[in-house]
């Protein structure tokens, strides 16, 4: 399979200012990994391990202090339509209705009004929200908001979908519904998906590979050998491979906590 995303020796420093004294914090310390086309990769690890920073660098919202990210064969120098980001709290524009939020990226792409209406309708239907097209974000539940966020990210038809703890703020039932829907969408679109999560179940249920980060380094990469389509998640939890990898992941993160 083609390499869709190549992360090469990425280092990221942050300068923190404390009362005139500036200290340098190393958020990422020489991170490298590849992601293949159509793969779902989860990045997990304890708070402050650099997983969200890594995702933001891939998106182009932050620049690496050194090293590079190559997306679809091109070096990333900023945001681009080959990638889309699903934000942690959806971040819909509150003055635009659901459909207009989905069309936002298309509008910035320069797509004509008539055409973007059609595309937005299609992606709203994909996340099951055709009936809520005219509602403003404050009239949507948390789960519906994040569905609109996903539709907005997909509408520009990126090759890579980046997700920053997208279901972390949802209740358990909504979270599982959205996880199922994400797997369905992946089945339909075969997008490459990178999902940052602190939820171990989510990482193992969704991903082909789980990248475990620790203190700015890739600690371990686990491969989850559950064939696709994986079916409903509720049933998947009984899968032996799920149990093994869930345990392996837990032990990795646990041993880290003991050593810290």
């Amino acid at each position: 399979m083609a390499q869709q995303l190549e992360i090469r020796n990425v280092v990221k420093h942050f300068n923190l200012k404390h009362g005139g004294k500036s200290t340098t914090v190393k958020a990422l310390d020489d991170v490298s990994f590849d992601i293949s086309q159509g793969e779902i990769v989860a990045i997990t690890g304890p708070s402050g391990c650099g997983k969200t920073t890594m995702l933001r660098i891939i998106m182009g919202l932050e620049t690496a202090s050194s090293g590079e990210v190559i997306s679809c064969g091109k070096k990333v120098t900023g945001c681009g339509f080959d990638r889309s980001l699903v934000f942690q709290h959806a971040e819909l524009l509150p003055w635009r209705n659901a459909k207009s939020n989905v069309a936002f990226g298309l509008e910035l792409m320069g797509m004509a009004q008539g055409e973007r209406d059609g595309v937005a309708d299609r992606y709203l239907a994909m996340v099951g929200l055709s009936d809520a097209a005219d509602r403003l974000p404050h009239q949507l539940s948390g789960g519906m908001k994040q569905r609109v966020g996903i539709a907005r990210a997909l509408a520009t038809e990126p090759y890579i979908l980046l997700m920053d703890e997208p279901f972390g703020a949802l209740d358990a039932q909504n979270r599982e519904d959205l996880q199922n829907e994400l797997l369905d969408i992946h089945g339909q679109t075969k997008k490459t998906i990178v999902i940052v999560t602190h939820d171990l179940d989510e990482a193992v249920l969704l991903a082909d590979r789980v990248i475990v980060m620790k203190a700015g380094l890739v600690q371990e990469v686990l491969t989850v050998e559950i064939p696709r389509p994986r079916g409903r998640l509720a049933a998947l939890r009984g899968n032996a491979e799920f149990g093994r990898k869930r345990l392996a992941l837990w032990e990795l993160l646990h041993e880290e906590r003991q050593s810290a």
Binding site: L85, F104, G105
Partner: protein, 273 residues
């Protein structure tokens, strides 16, 4: 705010578990007005009519001065510089506030003058304004614009600063230019703050109007006030003040209504149940 799957069927507001409709809040306001008027009537009637007055006496003056046309003429005379001054203040204040909020270097360069200007004791500067602008329409507009400009500008500035970083990142993630981020994200997100600036500006503009009518050519509602005061006609003096207050309340309500129409999402986000 509680999220609701059906969205449209949320009750207006809930206090102690019981829904309270807009109508009962209106009742509270009306009751408060009645109590206040009664109180003023009782107190006012006990006082020497040179030192104070009371609602019914003022109402009689209102009717009389409206009937002979003085009040209407004075009101229109005051309204014209008020409108021009307010429009100028908005036209200058909003763009400048947005510019200061959007560019850190502009903020560093002129933010301090805006903050200082807001606290400037304008009344003390009126003699200078008269030297610069004369005694007519121009100086009235200048005084009103100066007073109104600062709250409008500061609110626009604040509104732009308050736009969440993540909303701007949504634009960045879709490769939006600086100009697109300003037009499609920053400006719409600032609308509620800009509208609040307008509301504060109305109060300032009215103060500016009266100050101008007192200290430059004596005209309009301010003119009636000062002439009545000079002849110890207290009820006659208070009548235009009532007109001004009613006018301010009406304009503020109109702006609040406009804000609900333009930015219905903001009220929902900030509602405190």
């Amino acid at each position: 705010m509680k999220l609701n799957e059906k969205g449209a069927t949320m009750p207006a507001e809930v206090v102690d578990g019981k829904p309270v409709s807009r109508l009962s809040y209106l009742t509270i306001t009306v009751l408060s007005l009645i109590v206040m008027l009664l109180f003023l009537e009782i107190i006012g009637r006990r006082a020497n009519p040179m030192f104070a007055s009371y609602p019914t006496a003022i109402a009689v003056e209102l009717v009389r001065m409206t009937a002979d046309g003085r009040l209407v003429f004075a009101f229109l005379e005051s309204l014209w510089p008020l409108l021009v001054g307010f429009a100028l203040a908005a036209a200058l204040g909003v763009p400048l506030g947005v510019l200061i909020g959007r560019f850190r270097s502009v903020e560093a360069a002129i933010g301090i003058y805006i903050t200082a200007g807001y606290a400037m004791p304008l009344v003390a500067l009126v003699p200078l304004y008269i030297l610069w602008f004369g005694l007519g329409f121009g100086v009235k507009v200048a005084i009103i614009t100066t007073l109104t400009f600062f709250p409008i500008c500061i609110n626009a500035w604040l509104g732009v600063k308050m736009v969440p970083r993540t909303l701007i990142e949504v634009g960045l993630s879709f490769v939006a230019s600086k100009q697109e981020i300003l037009r499609k994200i920053v400006l719409p997100a600032s609308v509620p703050y800009i509208m609040s600036g307008f509301r504060l500006g109305v109060g300032k503009a009215i103060i500016g109007m009266i100050v101008a009518e007192f200290f430059t050519a004596i005209t309009g509602l301010g003119g009636i006030i000062i002439n009545a005061a000079n002849s110890f006609e207290t009820a006659q003096m208070l009548a235009p003040i009532v007109v001004i207050m009613v006018f301010a309340v009406a304009v503020t309500a109109l702006l609040a209504w406009a804000e609900r129409k333009i930015a219905p999402w903001h009220q929902e986000l900030t509602r405190q149940d």
